[in-house]
């Protein structure tokens, strides 16, 4: 049994660790982005500037100050919720990120739901009929999901459902119809490996004595699977889903670009291309914070699934 005080102390410890991780991430991204080149030249590339103009802009943006001073200013602002001003747009970074986070969150949740709705039935059925044609089909489906590039899959879905069938829009935002294809793209990719994980986890659990006991007690097979086996099979699946949240965000970038979905992924892509230092820094720090929070939530979810797990 987990005492409330122990749980509270555990959460506090994890939050302190999280703060240290985020600080380290901010230093790494701050230095790394500055190794990629001069943002002043990049900003002025379209206006065909003189060298003097580039130097003048560099000075106006404070880029000629010592690195430590630039980081000090960034950190001081970040601690007050000010992530700086985008070089490319002149808009506050926090506002830019805030305006795009909802779209990415929506796409991520929708993709995870679609992925789970596909992966769970496929994985369970494959586990219940091992080495059958159904199982073979499920494994091939998983292999396809892992192999297909997400941007290619997105373009294929557009070609079929938008251009050929005219059922769904190829791009856009704000309607449920515009969410379907991007969510399906993401979900299909995710479901590939998730279905494999559900299958192998279920196979492992189905061998346990308590499952044999449940069957021997005369419980219906559906009850054995859904109430006894699946719950324990979910633990490694949840672990995987939590640990790949970062990869999910990375995959979302390509989906957002293909479908012109106005999320944080496409914003990050643009920011890196433009060497927009404050925006890149802000996006990395915010997404690192979300990742750390996600990991904490996953760990707390374990406790819900398996009270025997100890806080240490």
């Amino acid at each position: 049994m987990i005492w409330p005080l122990d749980l509270a102390w555990y959460v506090v410890r994890r939050l302190v660790n999280a703060a240290a991780v985020i600080l380290l991430v901010s230093v790494v991204v701050f230095v790394a982005i500055r190794l990629t080149g001069d943002p002043a030249a990049s900003m002025l590339q379209g206006v065909e500037p003189t060298r003097q103009a580039i130097d003048q802009l560099r000075h106006a943006l404070g880029l000629d100050q010592p690195l430590w001073r630039q980081y000090e200013l960034f950190l001081a602002g970040a601690l007050h919720g000010n992530l700086g001003t985008s070089y490319d747009t002149g808009q506050p970074v926090a506002s830019l990120i805030g305006s795009r986070l909802g779209a990415t969150a929506l796409l991520a949740v929708a993709g995870l739901v679609v992925g789970a709705l596909i992966a769970f039935p496929v994985g369970i059925i494959a586990a219940l009929r091992p080495n059958s044609l159904v199982d073979l089909g499920a494994r091939m489906f998983a292999l396809a999901g892992i192999s297909f590039p997400n941007f290619w899959l997105g373009i294929m879905l557009i070609t079929i459902f938008s251009v050929a069938l005219r059922w769904l829009p190829a791009s856009g935002y704000g309607t449920w119809q515009s969410l379907v294809l991007p969510a399906l793209t993401l979900g299909l990719i995710l479901s590939g490996i998730q279905s494999r994980l559900v299958r192998s986890s279920m196979l492992e659990v189905l061998r346990h004595d308590y499952v044999r006991t449940a069957r021997a007690k005369g419980l219906k097979e559906r009850s054995v699977i859904m109430r006894h086996a699946l719950r324990n099979a979910l633990i490694p699946v949840v672990t995987y889903m939590g640990s790949t949240f970062g990869a999910l965000l990375g995959g979302i970038v390509f989906v957002e670009v293909v479908f012109s979905w106005p999320g944080i992924g496409s914003l990050a892509y643009q920011a890196v291309e433009q060497r927009d230092f404050p925006l890149v820094q802000g996006i990395v720090v915010v997404t690192a914070s979300l990742l750390v929070l996600m990991n904490l939530l996953v760990d707390l979810l374990y406790l819900l699934l398996d009270p025997q797990i100890h806080l240490e």
Binding site: G37, P49, I54, Q91, L106, R166, P169, S266
Partner: protein
């Protein structure tokens, strides 16, 4: 009750996720703008190839997307038509008092979209802002740094004082940074708000902006030219080429910017669509590193130029959507000498020149290019093939665009290769900008080339407003650059636009400044 809930935790969890998703969908479905059907004139949707500029303040950006959208929200003192003629805009006439003083008479009875009147104060405010501390943090200031002061001589008269002569100033007054902004509105709401809620004197007003997704403009009925024909225009940011084409084919958009050359045949084969090629100011060349062998030898550079069958490359790789050029400017550029012919395709002469230069067969030259530029990659491969035929082994090296243009090329010393892809916008349509930045010493993209005769000609053309004198200086400059093979000009780009057959009156803009005032649609 607790036990029931505990037994159905999974279902409850799934239900919570679905409810969250529904909430997010509901939350992001934005309220509709005023229906275009309620306003006569209809609506139009344009698929924009570039990303959301993020800020519609004229001093804060240089992107093509900004130009396409904001050219319909703002006006400048002068107006560049879709055929690239300079006409009066918010200024009705102007006169140079000398090379550094320009007086302009302003148009009467013009309103900003919030009702504020346009007058000399707005012009002074606009340029004070552009050249002041805020403007100096943005990319546009570099174009206007010759402007020392703008003062009001009367309610509808202003005088520009320049720190040095700028013969391209009139053209630049049609540029992004010189769009006139409303003083009272900006003073009231601030620049940050103005950037996402812009107000100008143009034919359309922004009524909706979903960041990263779309901008919706509605007709401004009190526009000084008279109301536009269209009631509403939507710009959708669809950066992926194949997605944008799919949108055009399905009718989700009516106008598509930047049809990829390889997809032009798809548009042409669709009877409901209309392909609109237009010559642009954008040019490409092979930059040459004159600080390292073998390209430091003018015979080698000329040999390379004459080894390439550019006409065949334009026909096959670019599907005919380009034009040959003799210097690093397009036919629309002021300063282009139409009598100067491009380098001939002569592989025999090319081999002879290489032999004279002592270049052995099999010598390797590196050709750097932007890896994400799939069109130029094909051009580069074709160039490599032609070089191989004259005994040069071209080593193709792709790079990230930003690193390439802003780190490697400026570094010189062969960092970008012996030859490299170099594209140039030429937005002023005057060779002056190109000449200064690429052929005068110690410029950012010219770390190595220096020629006193060239510098002298550039100084001469910059010091006068007389167009004939400037043109003659440019012609001399063109000849020197051509004879010395300072870079190998390849082609001038033909931009491809596509429209649905319901669109009327749309002229594909050479400079990507979409002009929607005269455009209409079939209902």
């Amino acid at each position: 009750m607790v036990q029931v809930l505990a037994r159905h935790k999974g279902i409850l969890a799934l239900g919570a996720i679905l409810a969250l998703s529904a909430g997010l969908v509901g939350g992001v479905v934005h309220p509709a703008t005023a229906s275009a059907k309620a306003l006569s004139g209809g609506s139009l949707v344009i698929g924009e190839a570039d990303a959301d500029p993020g800020n519609f303040d004229p001093i804060a950006t240089f992107t093509l997307a900004w130009g396409e959208i904001a050219s319909n929200i703002f006006d400048g003192l002068v107006f560049r038509t879709p055929t690239l003629k300079i006409q009066p805009g918010l200024a009705t006439s102007w006169k140079w008092l000398n090379t550094t003083h320009l007086v302009m008479q302003l148009r009467h009875n013009v309103l900003f979209q919030d009702g504020e009147p346009f007058n000399a104060n707005a012009v002074v405010f606009t340029f004070d802002r552009l050249t002041g501390p805020l403007g100096q943090k943005g990319p546009e200031y570099a174009n206007y740094n010759a402007i020392q002061k703008v003062q009001a001589l009367g309610t509808y008269e202003v005088e520009f004082t320049l720190s040095h002569p700028d013969p391209t100033l009139i053209t630049k007054l049609a540029g992004y940074g010189a769009m006139i902004v409303p003083p009272k509105y900006i003073e009231k709401y601030g620049s940050t708000y103005f950037g996402t809620h812009p107000i100008g004197t143009g034919p359309f007003k922004m009524v909706k902006y979903v960041k990263g997704s779309e901008v919706v403009l509605q007709r401004f009925d009190k526009y000084w030219r008279g109301p536009a024909k269209l009631a509403q225009v939507t710009f959708e940011f669809v950066t992926e080429d194949s997605t944008r084409l799919a949108d055009l084919q399905t009718g989700a958009i009516d106008i598509m910017q930047a049809v990829p050359v390889a997809q032009a045949s798809v548009v042409k084969s669709d009877p409901s669509l209309h392909l609109m090629p237009v010559s642009s100011p954008t040019v490409y060349e092979l930059g040459t590193d004159m600080s390292v062998a073998p390209t430091n030898n003018p015979k080698v550079r000329l040999a390379i130029a004459e080894a390439i069958n550019m006409s065949a490359i334009i026909k096959t790789v670019l599907h005919g959507y380009a034009q040959r050029i003799s210097t690093f400017q397009g036919p629309l550029s002021f300063g282009n000498d139409p009598n100067l012919k491009p380098y001939p395709y002569d592989p025999t002469q090319s081999k002879a020149l290489l032999q004279q230069a002592g270049v052995k067969p099999g010598t390797t030259v590196t050709l750097g290019y932007v890896g994400s530029d799939s069109t130029f990659e094909q051009v580069a491969q074709a160039v490599a093939g032609y070089l191989q035929q004259v005994g040069l082994q071209a080593n193709l090296q792709p790079y990230d665009e930003n690193t390439f243009f802003n780190n490697l090329i400026p570094a010189g010393q062969g960092k970008a290769g012996d030859l490299w892809e170099f594209g140039w916008g030429g937005w002023t349509l005057d060779f002056d900008n190109t000449a200064v930045l690429l052929y005068t010493p110690k410029q950012f993209w010219n770390p190595t080339y220096s020629n006193p005769e060239v510098t002298s000609l550039i100084d001469a053309e910059r010091s006068t407003l007389d167009t004939q004198t400037r043109l003659q200086d440019f012609y001399k400059l063109d000849t020197i650059l051509h004879n010395q093979v300072v870079g190998i000009p390849l082609y001038d780009v033909t931009n491809l636009w596509a429209t649905d057959s319901r669109v009327h009156g749309f002229v594909a803009p050479p400079d990507d400044r979409v002009w929607l005032w005269p455009v209409s649609v079939s209902q």
